[in-house]
Amino acid sequence: MWLKAAWALLRKDALIELRRRESLFSMAAFGVLSLLIYNFALPLDGDSAKEMAPGLLWVTVTFTAVLSLGKAFAGEKQNDAVDALVASPAPLPAIFLGKLAANLLFIGIIEILLIPLFLAFFPVATGFSWGWLALTLGLGTFGMATLGTLFSAMTVTLRSRELIFPLLLLPLMVPIIIAASHALSALIEQDMGAVSTWVQLLGIADTIFFVASLWVFEFLVED
């Protein structure tokens, strides 16, 4: 029941996005433009690129993700579809997981687009482990998507949702952005000890946010 309901939600959201191309298009445009602006506006060469690039990448990913995350539950308000979700026997955590999976998919697609551009624009050494890069990106994205999914549900009924959503979400994302940026920076420096430490911290933060979000979501939806 859990997996079936979560899969149905993921499939439904992906199908709707495929038809509307609303979130992916705006995210891609915003992400590419941000990297372009950083590339031309900042003196990124040699050591300065090594120091600034990881932070710039995560800032870009964060703001790009916020564009999509804020709309995660907005579609469920149309025609009161959320009532059918909540009144159904689908477990509430399964609904959360389905939405989270859809958000991960959308952000992941954009990251696949942005990473090659990032490596092309910023002169950083690429002799690092791609597996560690994927793990760092994956954990950072998971934490962001988890918090974003929860706060999207929390703010979906608010009139000034688009203003309040990032104001609530971004402060909580700070630990994830810091850990992910430092992990990426250490990876570029090929300091694997530091990479391991920051990735472990990311994992701990993700676990705390994920468990707390599942718990809060259930209370949030049940009246």
Partner: protein
């Protein structure tokens, strides 16, 4: 697809109402809307809830759907307390003012998604049958965004026809429907109740439910003010 068999009454349960709401109190911003409301419904019964605007009909239906919780009172379905959410929600379906339809999905996609939430699936033949009954088979490849309000309401109703829940909760189900649509809904409700399922619905129009065997109840001042078999509820009762 029919889940009603899972709640068929044993001889010992025959006297117990299928749905029982007792002493329901619900407040909004401290103002009570429902003030100790009692309601029961038996298997195979259609209960129509009347009341003026703001009487609490929607609040009652949303409480019965477990979408909101009463501040006081108890609820039970088939003898199970509403605290058993998974049990309760597997046996009810709620159609509110909104059609609960995803406009970027086609009718079949909407129906398949809804059934998946109940851990169910429908065959192509079942989907075709239901879409023909609600008059949407010819537009099955169109997204619901292009549908009229009445067509969306029909699609919303098709979900109930597929699921056939033991407890069907409907808030103003005739909204936006034409005469044929109203007849289609009433035909289904008659069959659904005859199969031993329970329907609780709100309405403003006694004329629309006249052909249905039903029990009419009226909410006034947060409690049930009238409760009788096919009670005559005249129009004056619906003016706040």
């Amino acid at each position: 697809m029919d889940v009603s068999s899972s709640t068929s009454a044993s001889p010992g349960e025959a006297s117990r109402p299928f749905l029982r709401a007792h002493g329901i109190v619900r407040r909004y911003n401290g103002v009570p809307v429902l003030r100790g409301l009692d309601l029961t419904a038996d298997r195979g019964e259609i209960v129509v809830v009347y009341g003026p605007n703001g009487a609490g009909k929607t609040t009652l239906l949303r409480i019965l759907a477990s979408l909101i919780q009463p501040h006081e009172g108890t609820l039970a379905l088939d003898g199970e307390d509403y605290e058993e959410r998974a049990y309760i929600r597997a046996r009810l379906m709620y159609c509110g003012h909104g059609t609960q339809i995803y406009e970027d999905l086609e009718p079949e996609e909407n129906l398949r998604f809804f059934l998946a939430l109940y851990g169910r699936a429908a065959t192509d033949a079942e989907l075709k049958d239901v879409l023909e009954r609600v008059g949407l088979w010819r537009v099955r490849h169109l997204r619901a965004a292009g549908f009229s309000a009445g067509m969306k309401r029909r699609l919303s109703f098709a979900r109930a026809m597929l699921l056939r829940p033991p407890l069907l909760l409907l808030d103003e189900p005739y909204t936006s429907l034409d005469a044929a649509g109203i007849e289609m809904v009433n035909d289904f409700l008659r069959d659904h109740a005859a199969a031993g399922n329970t329907v609780v619905m709100s309405s403003h129009s006694p004329e629309l439910v006249r052909t249905l065997p039903h029990r009419a109840v009226r909410i006034r001042a947060g409690v049930l003010a009238a409760d009788s078999d096919s009670a005559r509820i005249d129009g004056a009762d619906h003016v706040a």
